[in-house]
């Protein structure tokens, strides 16, 4: 009942005209960047961080959340129409969705993706509203060693468990951790890894790293293989409306996708890829039309799209209640909270209930806006894809440069942008995941602070980490998640040798 009253208060905040405007700008931008290949919600929020610095925190955060949700809706459009998923979470959607578009059923594919995203978004946001207070009650009792252990889980799951190569994922994470060390150590005031460069004393700006890796890195990557991988836009043919048959075949996958996506996103398990893969596999097994899979089955669009959206909403759970980001976008949203001096977690629920519940309520509103923006207006969004690629990427780089100098007007900052851009390009080219490095930069210093706090409370006794049952369990989970992929690889090799 508590949650309902709080949510009601939240709606009063979220329905203020200025907040509605922020939400509308957010979902609009989010859908646009979701549709456009090459820019995603993480980059957009990163670019907006310096711009929103002087604005109202509540409104800006509502806008960021709108961008996150909007990006998830928009990503499916690109996946279906040009077979280039805007983000990895839409990869599965492209499998069946693009086939449907080629077969002239692009309209229903877009519709089932949008309605599925809506259903999943509403279910998952309800999940946040009712489970968050409960998780907050638990989190209040967490000590610094428990937080440190939780962050270890986030480190491992973001980088090791779900990538194709734990070695490359962990390498990316550790690069982020090294970047997180740069700057002045808060406890002793000594400079670490600054090499005498004064601009580095404040640490590495999240904006610069994210914009360099995502915008510049992506532009370099796309430009480098433009000649080798041409793209084709599939025009939307036929009716947008789903037939009765389409509805009948879609609602099951929507619900199952939401049920898979939300918990996997909400656990600090990272990534929307796993629930989409799982949803696709399940729908393939349950369908009455197995012959259509691989040739454009609507279930294969409905399920994964719902799972993808539900998991995006799910990642907001650990972010809001524990301050724990489990995806690149969530990590940058955390940086957004921090630029206003706000720290997500149990305290924020107690101190700024208007802000937290206003944000949660605005997620419902964002979902309503998105379904309206996406279904009737899909033709408009498709036209965005007609922007010539040279101008699109040139524009993206101009905005990237602008975001960087607006955050910190110096040539050194721009040089870092270039270095991170080249790094992002090389990482893409040699198949190193990008998200762990961003999470490492943001979460690394927080984890260090919690670890040092825990050890100074225990007067330097490291056993405090394993004596407390909560942190011991969490560290054990992190350890298992770290070792499991290596062990499974070893098992496979063992089996292969036996055969």
């Amino acid at each position: 009942m508590d949650a309902l009253a709080a949510l009601g208060q939240g709606f009063l905040v979220a329905l203020e005209p200025s907040k509605l405007l922020f939400a509308l700008i957010g979902v609009f931008l989010g859908t646009a960047v979701g549709v456009l290949p090459g820019i995603g919600p993480a980059l957009t929020v990163a670019l907006l961080l310096p711009i929103t610095f002087k604005m109202d925190p509540g409104g800006s955060l509502i806008m960021f959340a709108g961008i996150y949700y909007g990006g998830m809706y928009g990503g499916s459009t690109t996946a279906i129409l040009i077979n280039t998923p805007g983000e990895s979470a839409s990869m599965i959607t492209a499998l069946e969705g693009n086939r449907m578009a080629k077969a002239g059923r692009g309209g229903p594919a877009l519709a089932t993706a949008a309605i599925g995203s809506f259903v999943a978004g509403i279910i998952a946001t309800l999940g946040i509203a009712f489970l968050a207070p409960w998780l907050v009650d638990i989190a209040v009792r967490f000590g610094p060693e428990d937080y440190f252990a939780l962050m270890c889980i986030a480190f491992v799951t973001v980088s090791a468990t779900f990538g194709d190569s734990p070695l490359r994922g962990l390498t990316s994470l550790f690069l982020g951790l090294v970047l997180g060390l740069v700057g002045i150590d808060v406890l002793t005031g000594q400079a670490r890894l600054t090499f005498g460069v004064p601009e580095l004393l404040d640490g590495i700006e999240v904006t610069t790293l994210a914009v360099g890796l995502f915008a510049v890195g992506e532009a370099l990557h796309v430009a480098s293989r433009r000649k080798h991988a041409p793209e084709e836009i599939e025009p939307v043919r036929g009716s947008l409306w789903m037939t009765a048959e389409d509805w009948r075949r879609s609602w099951g996958p929507w619900l199952r996708g939401s049920a898979l996506g939300f918990p996997i996103g909400a656990l600090p398990a990272g990534g929307a890829e796993i629930p989409t893969f799982l949803s696709y596999t399940i729908e393939k097994r349950l369908t009455k039309h197995p012959e259509e899979f691989g040739r454009g089955a609507i279930e294969g669009v409905a399920g994964p799209e719902a799972a993808n959206n539900a998991s995006a909403a799910g990642t907001l759970m650990p972010l809001l209640t524990l301050g724990l980001p489990t995806s690149a976008t969530a990590a940058i949203m955390l940086a957004g909270f921090q630029q206003y001096g706000l720290n997500p977690g149990p305290l924020l629920f107690a101190e700024r209930p208007d802000l937290v519940w206003g944000l949660i309520a605005s997620l419902f509103i964002a979902n309503m806006m998105l379904i309206v923006l996406n279904l009737p207006l899909v033709g408009l969004w498709v036209r965005l894809l007609a922007i010539p690629q040279p101008w699109l990427y040139a524009g993206i780089l101009v905005f990237a440069a602008m975001g960087t100098v607006a955050a910190n007007p110096s040539a050194v900052e721009l040089m870092m942008l270039l270095v991170f851009g080249v790094l992002g390009y090389l990482m893409r080219r040699y198949d190193y995941p990008i998200a762990p490095i961003v999470v490492g930069l943001i979460l690394g210093p927080m984890a260090e602070a919690q670890l040092r706090r825990a050890l100074s409370i225990s007067l330097g006794d490291p056993l405090v980490l394993v004596q407390n049952p909560v942190s011991a369990t969490l560290l054990a989970i992190a350890f298992i998640a770290l070792v499991a992929p290596f062990a499974m690889k070893g098992l496979q090799r063992f089996k292969a040798a036996e055969d």
């Binding site: 990427y393 040139a394 440069a401």
Partner: protein, 158 residues
């Protein structure tokens, strides 16, 4: 036959990454050793860097093992000319802003160079578009959002 040859050849990419990681581990550890002040109890500022350096060293060794073992998929074909154009555009941006040329000319150069990297040949038209976009962004940010962007002779006139 092919297998035997494959096994003997060292994979270049993981080998290079492995060596770089070991070097980075060395730098982090060396930097940590230069921190002299410690906290009275609990962890000093050098503990976590040392931990990270250890992790980097392990990952470096892991890459070297992967390099010897082979089988890393090779990268896709890439177009070095396009990459050079974009990096050149960014260098021009940094130089222009660093030398006090201002935001608008800097982004004009970046826009034209990037468009060129993506296959456009109409350099003059792209310079004009970049210039217009630069002015638009500059005005929106300084007048509407009251944020400061780098100024040059041109921006002072606006």
């Amino acid at each position: 036959m092919t297998d035997a040859r494959h096994a003997r050849r060292l994979d270049v990419v993981p080998a290079v990454v492995g060596i770089l990681l070991l070097g980075l581990a060395g730098i982090v550890a060396w930097d940590a050793a230069s921190l002299t002040l410690a906290t009275p109890y609990g962890l000093g500022p050098q503990a976590v860097p040392n931990l990270i350096a250890g992790g980097l060293a392990l990952l470096g060794c892991g890459h070297l093992v992967a390099a010897v073992r082979g089988g890393t998929p090779g990268p896709e074909l890439a177009d070095p000319v396009a990459v050079t154009w974009i990096i050149g555009g960014l260098v021009a941006l940094i130089a222009t802003i660093g030398l006090g040329g201002g935001f608008v000319p800097a982004t004009t150069l970046l826009f034209a160079a990037t468009a060129r990297a993506f296959g456009r040949r109409a350099l003059l038209a792209d310079l004009a578009i970049g210039f217009g976009l630069g002015i638009l962004v500059y005005l929106a940010f300084t007048k509407l959002l009251t944020l400061s962007l780098p100024q040059g002779p041109l921006e002072r006139l606006l």
